[in-house]
């Protein structure tokens, strides 16, 4: 393989750090776990891990490090071991405050022991055993390390690092420990860096006649991000795969040495020129404090009279840089972007290579190229990825870090667009008392997978994913009911959504990004905004309130939720029309208005209950009256508006669980 990396003595300790908790996989095999718990009363998983590695043919030094990774004091003169132990405790035990610990035998995404599979559907232990068997003997080189990262990602990303702790992936924990050790061992201080590319501005020119452009843009941006990070880490001989904690098309979380942050910024600034897009980065220390935030903007390219304009980005094309895409004249950057879509396929191996090669996707300012091919062909390989593995066998076969890149082209027949925005959820994780970094990286890695699975479940195949990363998802569908149901499912886990009718593709894409960003600030809590329902804003709090209100009312009145919803919806225009009875001071006028409202409610109640064959008692009527008028009228109207939207989309509200 053509990596330019140090074949350094550091590799065994970095490898051991990566594998130090491998024994925890037995948490998901109860019989094996029991056996090791008896054999190793203290830190059973360390002993179990060492035995598993022995079975796989790993050398003694790795097994030794793994076995004593949590008890370094038992071994004299073992500074490396104490590094693993110290890195292991970083982030997890920074504060004295402990979380409530409840053992829950499930994976991160809520599956039971029996249901848990690897990311691409394999049995955990089988994939681990097949993937970590080195036929020609294990060598302490980068190929081995990358294979271990790949197999660990496939098997342990969905698993909990600690059965008592939610939202912390075993894979992320292992990677964080190895990245920290990789920095410390060279005397470097590690920092967390979050990078996000904003393609909204570029996307606005994406038109229906070039449907691949936007997904191509995201792949181009993603590979560019990966390349600029890898190029930076390679400059000091670090192995990039150990330091990239989570990656999605427009978003990467990494842990890199402090001394490389300046170089990273320089690389990203060059990339922003290649993408002609803004890149923002946030640097956070290991205690979760934001150290630096920066936005890297490309230089504007002025419009020149007499020059041709690019068909895609509408900018003037510099002299000598005109290219053809089909019969359209485009600029060189857009040429590469429009070609990128062809790189998205199953089991594609994408190599990021230092230098400019004509046969690939070129990043002229950054000076790298993305090429489809085999790693052995290039000597200046920076990093590589296995795009969209068809199943776990591909990962076992290639030993290359897998990435599911599910962005698809526009479908002109799908009229509803949704953005699911994770901004507030990410902020919430950054404010967590413990495991901030673990949680942030876990959520960044797993959220896109969980969202895609949920979309598949609810929208079946009637959707097209236009953007999918840790910060947001944009999809198109034709199912209004499904769209709202999906948005409400997302709301339950703290994600916000905006639903709109499709307009021009590029502008709708951008409109969603802008609206979501604006509402994130204005609402201050997760929400669902349905623009085509008169702009109804359903915040997390109001949604719960509405669901609980109607469930409670159903219990008190004995009327089924569905019938109550019908009543509420028919009554809503009267309430809106009568307006603010709270403003009336005179008690006689006030009681008269209340009675008028009830008088108008009466025939609605009678007709719906007769239709639904429901007998209504006096107590039921009192309960209905109290529930309707215990709240200020404007709050009641808000609740009824939410229930109306739910009902008209065939969704029955569920109370708080």
């Amino acid at each position: 393989m053509g990596f330019h990396t140090l074949s350094s003595p550091d590799i065994p300790i970095v490898l051991a750090s990566l594998l130090h908790d491998i024994g925890k996989i037995y948490n998901y095999y109860e019989n094996e776990a029991e056996k090791y718990r008896t054999k190793y009363p203290e830190y059973w998983h360390a002993g179990a891990g060492a035995e598993l590695l022995k079975e796989l043919g790993f050398p003694y030094v790795i097994r030794h490090y793994v076995k004593y990774s949590h008890t370094p004091d038992r071994i004299e003169k073992e500074e490396y071991l104490s590094l693993i132990d110290k890195a292991d405790k970083t982030d997890a035990r920074l504060t004295r405050k402990r979380e409530k610990r409840e053992r829950a035998p499930v994976s991160i995404d809520g599956l039971s022991f029996e249901e848990v599979k690897t990311l691409h559907g394999g049995d955990l232990l089988k994939v681990l055993r097949d993937g970590l068997k080195f036929k020609d003997g294990l060598k302490f080189d980068e190929t081995t390390l990358i294979r271990c990262v790949s197999i660990l990602k496939e098997t342990t990303l969905p698993l909990r690092a600690d059965l008592y702790v939610k939202d912390v992936s075993l894979y992320i924990h292992s990677l964080i420990v190895s990245a920290i050790v990789s920095c410390w061992i060279r005397g470097e201080d590690p920092l967390v860096v979050l990078v996000e590319t904003d393609v909204g501005e570029r996307a606005k020119f994406a038109r229906a006649d070039r449907v691949e452009y936007l997904s191509g843009l995201q792949l181009y941006a993603y590979l560019g991000l990966l390349g600029s990070i890898a190029k930076c880490l390679r400059a000091k001989g670090f192995i990039p795969d150990v330091h990239i904690l989570s990656e999605t098309p427009l978003h990467v979380v990494m842990l890199i040495p402090q001394s490389l942050t300046q170089l990273l910024k320089e690389n990203l600034a060059r990339l922003s020129e290649d993408l002609h897009a803004t890149i923002s980065l946030k640097i956070i220390d290991l205690e979760g404090e934001v150290v630096e935030e920066d936005i890297l903007r490309p230089r504007p390219r002025p419009l020149r009279l007499g020059r041709k304009r690019c068909h895609f980005c509408m900018r003037s094309i510099p002299e000598g840089e005109e290219a053809l895409e089909g019969d359209k004249i485009v600029c060189l950057d857009c040429k590469h972007i429009s070609m990128s879509y062809r790189y998205i396929g199953d089991n594609s191996i994408v190599l990021l290579v230092d230098g400019v090669y004509e046969r690939g996707l070129v990043y002229r300012n950054l000076g790298i190229t993305a090429i489809l091919g085999m790693p052995s062909e290039f000597k200046d390989l920076l990093i590589m990825r296995l795009l969209n593995p068809s199943d776990y066998r591909s990962i076992v076969k290639y030993g290359i870090v897998p990435v599911d890149f599910r962005v698809e082209p526009f479908n002109k027949d799908y009229k509803i667009w949704i953005i699911v925005d994770a901004g507030l959820l990410l902020e919430r994780f950054l404010k967590a008392e413990v495991y901030k970094l673990h949680r942030l990286a876990t959520v960044c890695s797993l959220l896109p997978i969980l969202l895609e699975n949920r979309a598949k479940e609810i929208l079946k195949d009637v959707y097209s994913l236009l953007k999918l990363d840790s910060t947001s998802l944009i999809l198109q569908t034709n199912s209004r009911d499904g769209a709202l149901k999906f948005a409400l499912e997302c709301l339950k886990i703290g994600l916000s959504s905006v639903l709109v009718k499709a307009g021009s593709p590029g502008f709708t894409f951008r409109k969603l990004l802008t609206k979501a960003g604006k509402l994130r600030v204005e609402a201050g809590e997760p929400y669902v905004f349905v623009e085509y329902e008169g702009g109804v804003l359903i915040t997390e709090k109001k949604y719960k309130e509405a669901c609980n209100w109607v469930e409670n009312l159903a219990r008190l009145t004995g009327i089924p939720v569905k019938s109550l919803l019908k009543i509420a919806i028919e009554f809503l225009p009267t309430l809106e029309q009568y307006g603010k009875y709270e403003d009336i001071v005179d008690p006689v006028d006030k009681v008269l208005l209340l009675s008028e409202l009830l008088c108008r409610l009466a025939p609605i109640v009678e007709s719906i209950l007769t239709e639904d064959l429901i007998f209504f008692t006096l107590d039921g009527r009192s309960a209905l009256r109290n529930a309707l008028f215990e709240k200020p009228l404007n709050e009641l109207v808000e609740i009824l508006l939410i229930l109306k939207v739910l009902y008209t989309h065939g969704i029955l509200p569920e109370g708080e669980e």
Partner: protein, 111 residues
Amino acid sequence: MTDAIEDFCIALKNKDFKKAAELVEECAKLLVEKEEAATPLRDLGELIKKSWEDEVDKVLLRSEILVKNVPPLSNTLAQLVQEYNKSEAEKLRKLMRALMNFFRYYSGKRD
């Protein structure tokens, strides 16, 4: 011990409209519980909408109210026709309308 209907009547006699407004809904509910017929009540409501200017109007109205025989409401209203001035009569009309509305809601009867 008095019930909500009697309390409502007392409040009206005392010209305590705030109290009467508080009691009117309970009063309607009690009338429903007592299975009071809707028609005489509705007639009472209609009668009280009429204006009474002179003594002849008053005596005619009182006689029409008393004949509806909804105790103790009929007696109370007949007495109030005699005692209330114009603005008080307006409040009474509103309260009776509220009573009818509440009765309509709680009885579930269309008329």
